[in-house]
């Protein structure tokens, strides 16, 4: 097996910059999808709790349908499906949209669990102090719910980071995509995928540890991500 590490050592200066450049795109996909997921998730959570029946039903069904189907299928619908009608979505955008719209359904449930975990007495106390519903929401509910929601959001980011690897199948030039190109040139699939694994772990393990730590310190076992 001496040859294996020898080759890896020799090729490392060439592989690493290419893979790290791909990882930059990976992080980009993750960050943009995260923003879409958080915004969409908050809107969906508020919508699902709405007293307007059509709104709450529509939001519930969006969440159920998205959570009931694979992210890969959703990506393919956006990337290959829309192309059938002449709408060519670039790979990066398709990945961000797909993972963002998918994540919104999961994030919505985190928001809802966090917001509904606050006892109603808090809201009533706000009302009796003469606060408006918006003030109650921003000054009383959100700060308390935030503590509950932080650990599941952290777990969600780890999951999202790993899911960005799917972007390679819609030709977003992220790390898995770059790895495949390098392998087509060199046939060194084991070395290259091991490098890729190490790069992912450099981010996902610290994030995972942070999630565990938050979970222990904010003791919010109620809002664990499904």
């Amino acid at each position: 097996m001496g040859g294996f590490w020898e080759i890896l050592g020799r090729e490392l200066p060439r592989f690493l910059p290419i893979l790290l450049d791909g990882f930059r795109i990976t992080i980009g996909v993750a960050v943009f999808s995260f923003v879409i997921a958080m915004t969409g998730g908050l809107l969906l959570a508020i919508g699902k709790m709405s007293k307007l029946r059509p709104v709450s039903l529509a939001c519930s069904w969006y969440i159920e349908v998205i959570r009931g189907t694979p992210a890969l299928t959703q990506l393919f619908i956006i990337y290959f499906g829309l192309a059938q009608y002449g709408i060519d979505v670039p790979g990066f955008l398709a990945a961000v949209l797909g993972l963002g719209l998918n994540g919104a359904a999961y994030v919505a449930e985190i928001f809802r669990a966090g917001l509904t975990a606050i006892p109603d007495g808090q809201r009533q106390a706000g009302l009796s102090l003469g606060l408006t519903p918006v003030q109650i929401f921003t000054h009383i509910l959100v700060p308390q719910a935030f503590r509950l929601m932080l650990p599941p959001f952290c777990s969600y980011s780890v999951q999202l980071l790993k899911d960005t690897s799917l972007a390679s199948v819609v030709a977003a030039p992220e790390i898995m995509f770059r790895a495949r190109i390098l392998i087509a040139e060199t046939y060194l699939s084991m070395q290259i995928y091991l490098l890729v694994a190490v790069i992912y772990l450099c981010v996902s393990i610290p994030l995972g540890i942070l999630a565990n730590w938050l979970h222990r310190h904010l003791h919010s076992s109620k809002t664990a991500r499904a």
Binding site: M1, T69, L72, T73, Q84, M190, L201, A226
Partner: protein
């Protein structure tokens, strides 16, 4: 719109077969994960600190990787080192999902065991049961009840994640859909149909999980 119905008749039988393959892949991966989770959990709570830390790191590493990386390491990477280890895409998928599920379920089992009241453990000791008897007859059955909802959630996630196996061409629903869409040039209706099939398979399962969650939350 009329045209789609003729296609639907043509696609449905093929997709139905592929859906069964997805179910089989899910079930086999689940079995591997459920069994593998037991020794991993045992090693994770072992008295030997070296073994405990080794297992904890192993869990973090396997859990921190995208399953796609595991699939590629097994399917493309291993044969370049040892040509004997050229497994079928289906086998690689079962191993990769089984391994990742194993570490996930090990943590679920551990949480379940941790949730059992300490008094129960003291009680079986007082009754003169050996630690093993106590685990099998007292602790494990109670832990199992607590673990049921997270195990169910894992199963729902797994069912959808098996679609990723299509990337290494393991025979399942998503791969069939890809083949059909490249031969018919109609990806949209096919992928919508496939999404519907996944939904029909996963929704009842997640309803059952929610029911179980509701029950355990009350108890």
């Amino acid at each position: 719109m009329d045209g789609y119905w003729t296609y639907l008749e043509q696609w449905s039988p093929e997709l139905a077969v592929a859906a069964l393959q997805t179910l089989r892949l899910t079930l086999l991966s689940f079995l591997v994960a459920a069994v593998l989770g037991i020794p991993i959990c045992a090693m994770r709570v072992a008295d030997n600190p070296a073994l405990r830390y080794f297992t904890a790191s192993f869990i973090e590493i396997v859990r921190g990787l995208p399953v796609l990386v595991l699939l590629f390491l097994l399917y493309f990477g291993l044969p370049t080192l040892a040509p004997d280890l050229r497994w079928s895409s289906n086998a690689c998928a079962i191993i990769a999902f089984g391994l990742q599920g194993g570490v996930q379920l090990a943590e679920v089992y551990r949480a379940g065991l941790g949730a059992v009241d300490r008094g129960e453990k003291e009680a079986f000791k007082a009754l003169g049961l050996t630690p093993f008897q106590g685990l099998v007859h007292v602790t494990a059955p109670q832990a199992f009840r607590v673990s049921l909802p997270p195990i169910g959630n894992y199963l729902v996630g797994l069912l959808k994640d098996t679609s990723i196996a299509s990337i290494i061409a393991a025979p399942e629903l998503m791969l069939r859909a890809k083949d059909l869409s490249s031969s018919s040039f109609m990806p949209m209706p096919i992928y919508i149909l496939v999404a519907f099939i996944y939904f029909v398979m996963s929704y009842p399962l997640s309803m059952a999980v929610r029911y179980a969650e509701h029950k355990t939350a009350k108890a």
